[in-house]
């Protein structure tokens, strides 16, 4: 039975055990959990296991095949590196949330049916939002609210699609869907929100840079890549994804170039990199899918590494804006060296992981004869070096000296960065190590002199462009508008647009009901006869004016002035009684007559 413990359970159950331990034992447990999860994952039998009956359905907790294993492997490796990186953190709640988050991501990857997938999908959103909110700044609070709202919306779309799909097919198995009908569109949209496909991407760049040092490291790895996994599972070969991916890749670069916050630059770079994967999934040939999946593997490692180095800078300096940083190479050379390995990998320099994975996607496009797509992908590759490969390390570690001389971060942070850094180079030097894991047999040789030289040409001349155009790339104290404008500023405008007339209406109504009308009634009640007289005279004056006669204005003004006294002489009681008697007699006569 032990062989059926899913790795997600190891992380989630382990996370709840952490608060009961202290000191070295807790640290030991934090490192041990990913190792245990790794072992439990490799003990799982291939195929479906962990079956649980639920209503009339059978849930599949462990669907183990080549595709889910690739993601499972890299998720656990990254969780291991992240765990070491966060050993110094005294706030254990962050590690707990991170482990539940990793466990949920693993649960989603190994889920064989929609219900399990959906449950873990939502668990991911709720555990990850904690990593943002726990930073406890005003900005982080706002960003975490927006983050969870967007993910709840995405979750609703996914759930609606899943219900329609189960209704139509009667099966809850999570497999290839392809685009056909409303259910598939809703599911695709749900996945697209988590994959951060613009215009549904602003949650990522809004929230990730506001998370804690550790939080961002974990966040950068799992949500988007789980979405890449589900897209690869359900929508390979969906044409619209090719263009969606191209837009992602280019959009990420443009925004990363405009951005000032270093972790926001890296967040835009996530969208850019996921764009390459989405293109690969959209092309859908075995080579393209291999490229997309291996790129996801490599990307998790080097983006984790880059986020770790940015986190180390934030940890030691407390700053994250490029305008406030610079010249850190003097006192943080080890961090710089590790960061450069990540920068080289994301730029796909030969001998790094990006070189052996990303090129497969572009080559797959070329082999399908998609010249435009290939040209745009190559342009994006050049742009990656521009923004993530040079801009980030240059402005943080070199450029104008900020005068800051922070020390290197704690040793555990450096070791945590060392793990992915080692793997980035290991994969780059031994590409077979990753190729043999992929779902399809790989017939691709990355190291030909032609490929190496052309790639170096592309990168070196992109670098030249950076330094030639450096004048135009100077950092500015600005933020960049993104589609979150629609719910940050746009929301305000809608509220104003709808709210202002409504508030006015309600205000005037309440003023009428509670002030004007009662005040009038009170005033009227003071002397009804005089008030009626004034009313009649006012109408008379108005009518006189219309008819062109001289109105009796003076009289009216005097009447108003002396109100509630009046000039009408009250009748004596005797006269009143006589009048009433006369009235009754007249009534009596009329009635008699009628009868």
């Amino acid at each position: 039975m032990t062989s059926f413990i899913p790795p997600s359970a190891v992380f989630i159950a382990g996370a709840f055990l952490l608060p009961f331990f202290k000191g070295k034992l807790r640290k030991f447990l934090i490192i041990l959990l990913p190792v245990l999860a790794f072992i439990s994952m490799h003990l799982l039998p291939t195929g479906n296991s962990g079956l649980v009956e639920f209503l009339e359905y059978i849930l599949v907790f462990n669907r183990v095949d080549r595709l889910s294993l690739v993601f499972g492997n890299v998720f656990i490796i990254m969780a291991f590196a992240g765990a070491i990186y966060s050993l110094h953190e005294k706030d254990i709640s962050q590690v707990i949330a991170a482990f539940i988050y990793v466990g949920s991501a693993l649960g989603a990857v190994f889920a064989g049916d929609y219900i399990t997938l959906y449950i873990f999908w939502e668990a991911m959103a709720f555990s990850s939002v904690y990593l943002i909110a726990v930073r406890k700044t005003e900005k982080a609070r706002g960003a975490s609210f927006r983050y969870i709202l967007v993910h709840l919306f995405g979750g609703m779309l996914l759930l609606a699609g899943i219900i329609l799909h189960i209704n139509a097919t009667g099966s809850i198995e999570f497999n290839f869907i392809g685009l056909n009908g409303l259910a598939s569109y809703l599911i695709l949209l749900g996945f697209a929100i988590n994959a951060a496909i613009p215009p549904l991407s602003a949650w990522l760049t809004d929230a990730y840079p506001e998370a804690t040092v550790i939080g961002t490291v974990f966040l950068s790895a799992f949500t988007t890549k789980t979405a890449v996994y589900t897209l690869a599972r359900a929508f390979p070969g969906t044409d619209i994804l090719i263009w969606a991916g191209i837009i992602m890749a280019l959009y990420g670069i443009v925004f990363a170039i405009l951005e000032n916050d270093m972790r926001r630059i890296l967040s835009y770079s996530i969208i850019n990199q996921v764009g390459f994967m989405v293109v690969g999934i959209g092309i859908g040939t075995p080579m393209a899918l291999n490229g997309a999946i291996s790129h996801a593997f490599a990307h998790i490692l080097y983006k984790g590494l880059l986020m770790m180095s940015a986190g180390a800078v934030l940890y030691t300096t407390g700053r994250s804006k490029c305008t406030e940083l610079g010249g850190l190479y003097k006192s943080m050379p080890i961090t710089l060296a590790l960061c450069l390995i990540g920068a080289a990998s994301i730029s796909a320099f030969p001998l790094t992981s990006g070189f052996v994975t990303k090129s497969m996607i572009a080559d797959a496009a070329a082999h399908e004869g998609l010249t435009t797509i290939w040209m745009l992908l190559t342009m994006a590759s050049a742009g990656v070096f521009l923004h993530a490969g040079i801009k980030f390390p240059y402005f943080v570690f070199f450029a104008k000296d900020s005068g800051l001389r922070p020390e290197e971060p704690p040793v555990n942070m450096l070791i945590g960065m060392g793990v992915p850094a080692f793997l980035c180079i290991f994969i780059g030097v031994f590409p077979q190590s990753i190729y043999q894991m992929l779902p399809f047999a790989v017939d691709y040789v990355p190291y030909t002199s032609y490929h190496v030289i052309t790639q170096l040409q592309l990168l070196m001349f992109s670098g030249l462009a950076f330094f030639v155009l450096l004048k135009y790339l100077q950092r500015t104290d600005t933020i960049t508008l993104d589609t979150d404008w629609f719910y940050r500023r746009g929301g305000q405008i809608v509220v104003n647009f709808v709210g202002t007339p409504l508030v006015y209406l309600v205000n005037s109504l309440s003023k009428a009901c509670y002030e004007t009308i009662p005040a009038f009634l009170i005033r009227f009640g003071e002397n009804p006869t005089a008030a009626i007289k004034i009313g009649v005279d006012t109408m008379g004056v108005w009518a006189d004016k219309k008819m062109g006669r001289t109105p009796a204005l003076k009289k009216l003004v005097r009447q108003k002035k002396i109100y509630p006294r009046s000039q009408i002489k009250p009748l004596s009681i005797g006269a009143g009684v006589a009048f009433i008697l006369f009235f009754f007699i007249m009534m009596f006569l009329i009635i008699l007559n009628v009868i």
Binding site: K330, A366, T378, Y450, T454, Q457, L458, F461, Y472, D482
Partner: protein, 81 residues
């Protein structure tokens, strides 16, 4: 570690590094006609295509970013406050 940094900080060494990088750039273009090409697409056959295309792409990306950034997207930091 410190020695390496001090060594790299020397002005003459910095100048040398710059020249080495420029030499690599020139070398990469010069080697282009002599290498064995196996292009998949027609555009790859153009001389030094990757170098030219890489440079132009970056120039285009920077220009486009700067224009839409200045005209539209870049706002003061307190924009949302």
């Amino acid at each position: 570690m410190k020695r390496i940094i001090e060594f790299m900080d020397r002005p003459d060494i910095r100048k040398k590094i710059r020249w080495i990088l420029i030499a690599i750039l020139i070398g990469l273009v010069l080697i282009d006609p002599f290498m064995e090409k196996h292009p998949v697409l027609a555009v790859e056959r153009l001389p030094a295509f990757y170098a030219v295309y890489g440079f132009l792409s970056c120039a285009l990306i920077v220009a486009v970013s700067k224009i839409i950034g200045k005209l539209w997207l870049q706002k003061r930091e307190d924009y949302y406050d």
